[in-house]
Structures are given as C-alpha cells and as structure tokens.
Symmetry: C2
C-alpha cells in the first residue's frame, strides 16, 4: 500500500500507537513533525520506527525563512531528518516580513535560502521539498503559492537536493496544476505527495480546516493519477489538520483515513 499517515492527521495520538498502527496496516510509512519528534526524543523516535519497520516518509517542517535563525534551524532540521532516515524535509517557506508589501522579494529570498541549504542537505542525504501553500496563507505562512512558483524556485538546484511537494489541499483550485504536475514529473522534482480534502466553512485562522479524504470537493483520484502519470511512485501521505479530527480517538481516525484513501485516492 502506498498510503502513509502524516502524524499531524492524528496529532494527539501517542507516537508509539500511531507507528504501531502504520506497521499493523502495512502502510508505506509515517510522516513526522519536529515538535512531536523532539518531545519523544530524536534517538528514541528513530529507534521506534526502525524497530517497527515503518519508514519515515517525510519530516515536517523546515522553512520559515523569515525567522532570524532560519539557517541554523533548517540545518538542524536536515540533521533530524537524516537521523530519522527520512528522505525528505518539507519546507514551509514563511510569509512576508513584518511590514513588508513585497511578495516578489520574499519569494526571491526563499530561493536564495534554499540554495544556501543545499550543500548541507546533500551531505546529509536529505532532499529539501518546497511546498506551495494555498494562497490564503501567502502573507503569514508561505509566500510560495503555486506549484509553478515552487518549481521555478527549485530549478537552479540539483534534482536530488531540491524537490517540491504536491499537496491536494493547497493546489486543487489552480487550473495550471495539471500542467505543472507534468512539468514536475519530467524534471524529477516530485519529492512528496500529500492528500487532504477541501471543506467549508473555513475556521478562524484557516489552518485547521482540512477534511479527511472523500469528505470534500477535491478530485483526489485525479491528483493521484496525475502524479502517477508524471512518474511519481512514492508514498501518498494523508495530512489533515482539523480540530474536530484531532479531538477523536486516533484509531478511529486512522481507520477512516484508510477507508477514505481506498475509496477516493487509490480506487
């Protein structure tokens, strides 16, 4: 099965239980988050997934290149990914600097920052994955808003060092996305494929408004077929942020995720 659990989907489910569920269901792996890894302990987490035979499909997240310590912090994130055996570090690039109205400059800074991290990423054997986030996050979370922008930013750097994330939640509205997925495939840049569904109304702050696969309006199967056709054969991470989903028992959400994946992504 290509399905992987991104741990953010079951954020409050203890890591041992999430990893055990992935192993038990024969999932392709688990996507982890730095906060939870840090709380559990980096070495302990590495041992946990190794003993369970569950690959870490990605580590979330590096980026936030507006922060003062972005360079050191992202180097640490790369090291953590390497320690976990994660092939990919997902980069959420950060929003506009305070008071800025210059999104072009912020995007250019992302490109330069990614470039500055390439040598360390290559040395560690970790691939940086630039994630375009939905345009509603452009000012405060990620100035990279489309797959085309992410690919433009990745282009100067070696394919094995810098890729992009294709996340259905962020990209579904974009009529250019199908051509850009094909472009990403041809360039060998698809480092990560994440799935969540679009539901409304959006909550305050719009961060925790995602739906489990099949609950919303995104043609998830079309996305999966598009990345397949572009030559991507890696894991399919389900990554859902929603307060109501987080309030439910992890095992219940996990089962629903597997079901939704089979019905709406795989099938």
């Amino acid at each position: 099965m290509r399905l992987a659990l991104n741990h953010a989907t079951t954020k409050r489910w203890p890591l041992e239980q999430a990893v055990a569920a992935c192993a038990g269901a024969g999932l392709a792996g688990i996507g982890l988050w730095r906060e939870e890894v840090s709380a559990y302990g980096l070495e302990a987490t590495a041992k946990l997934v190794r003993d369970a035979g569950v690959p870490v499909t990605s580590l979330c997240r590096g980026g936030f290149f507006g922060a003062e310590d972005w360079f050191d912090d992202n180097r640490r994130a790369i090291d953590e990914a390497a320690a976990l055996g994660a092939p990919t570090l997902v980069l959420v690039s950060g929003g506009l600097p305070p008071g800025s109205r210059d999104v072009d400059a912020a995007r250019a800074h992302v490109g330069a920052a990614v470039g500055a991290l390439v040598p360390h990423a290559q040395a560690a054997g970790v691939r940086l994955a630039i994630e375009p986030l939905h345009p509603m996050f452009c000012s405060d979370r990620c100035v990279v808003s489309t797959l085309a922008q992410a690919l433009d930013l990745a282009e100067p750097y070696p394919v094995e060092a810098v890729g992009v994330v294709v996340d259905t939640y962020h990209l579904w509205w974009d009529d250019q996305v199908w051509a850009q997925i094909a472009r990403a495939g041809t360039a060998g840049r698809i480092a990560c494929f994440q799935v969540a569904d679009w539901i409304t109304p959006l909550p305050e702050g719009v961060l925790l408004g995602r739906g489990l696969p099949g609950t919303g309006c995104i043609p998830l199967r079309r996305f999966r077929e598009a990345v397949d056709a572009a030559g991507y054969d890696g894991p399919v991470e389900v990554e859902v942020f929603h307060a109501d989903v987080w309030d439910r028992p992890g095992g219940e959400v996990f089962a629903e995720m597997v079901e939704g994946y089979r019905a709406h992504v795989e099938g």
Copy 2:
C-alpha cells in the same frame, strides 16, 4: 478624484448619508449592492443618486450561476443596473454545485452563462464584469480564481458587453497578475477596479476579513499604477468587508478610507 465608495465598506450606513458623503467629498461615485438598493427601493435609489449628482460606478452583484433561477435573476440584476445608470454589473460566479468535484465543468458553465446574458446586457447598455475571487472562495462562492481565468471566460464575447474586475484583495498573491492586468488592458476588458487590503488572521468563514487601504500587505499603489498603465482611467472603488469596520460610524470609516486612498493608492 477617482475614488469611489463601495457601499459594502460602510454597510450599515444609511444610503442617503453615504451618497451625501460621496457628493460632499467629490468622489467619482458609489458602488451599490442589490440588497440595499432593494430595501431603499430601486426608483428611490436612482432618484437619490441622480439628485446628488453621484454616479453609480457598479452594481454588486450578479452571478451565482449555480442557483436554479440564475438566468432570470441576472436579467433582473442587469435591469436594476440600467435603472441606476450603473455601467457595470459585477458577477460573482458561484462555487461548485453540491457534491461536485469538477471545477473545470463549473468554470465552463460560468462562461456559457455569461454568454447567455450578453444579449440582454447589450440591450440594456450594461457591461457584465467577471470577478475572480481569491482561491479560498473557490468551492463555495466563485470558481473563477484568477484574472487569467476571468479573461479566458470573457474572451469569446464582445468587449463592450463583458469585462473583468481587478480587485486587489483577490489577486495580490498571484505572480501572474501583472501580466494579466496588461493583457486585460490591451483587450480593453478592465470594467472595474476595486481596492481592499489583506490582513490576518482571517475570520471564520473568511468573508469579513478585509482591511481598509494601507492596513495590510498589498502593494495597492503598484496595482493602481498597473491598471493605469493598462489604459484604465475609471473609478477606484474601495470595497472592504469587515465586521469591525461595519460596527464603526460610517462617517469615521469614510474619512479613513479617503485618507488611506490618498496615502496608499493615489499617492
């Protein structure tokens, strides 16, 4: 002065006072909304603005082409615009049909629906203006998400019958917007230019989260210069939806709008 008040900015300010303020300050006009016009009375509103010498710059809004009665309702909206002397009817095209995951089909339907309205619009001397809304509204309010899409949809129809709206709030994140504004200008399609600023956090439902000019991160002057360079010399409507702004006295918001316009749009 090219500034026009879109009445939605001061939604609870009685129409007489809003119109009087526009006249007193020498604004280019006022953008009106069908609900408020209907509550005041269509003929009464037409007389009010005529007597005050305040042009109606646009009527908001037609569209919502997923509704069962869209054809008749939009014909009525065209008639209302004509009765008010408004040159432009702003179209918010509507979201996905219930249960649909096919945004391409919904966009194609918008194009066909606009085409079906062209004869009535031409007969009435009202221009239909397709408004791209921010992608966060794609599923539930407007499947037209970029200026490029709006121009593609307008293209088959006569320029004098179908134009587009350039609204800073909806388009600022898009790195293609400058080229598309130039394209819109070359094609003679800019029917309406609206200004609001982007502020965060977004509120629940994301509709009422706009900022008065200068309070957010959008390069408003760059937009005004871009539409100018594209040959647009019409009014600049400030259209802000925000619960806190609506709670304040209309006159106070009006003064702040004029100030923000002078400092951040005009100057």
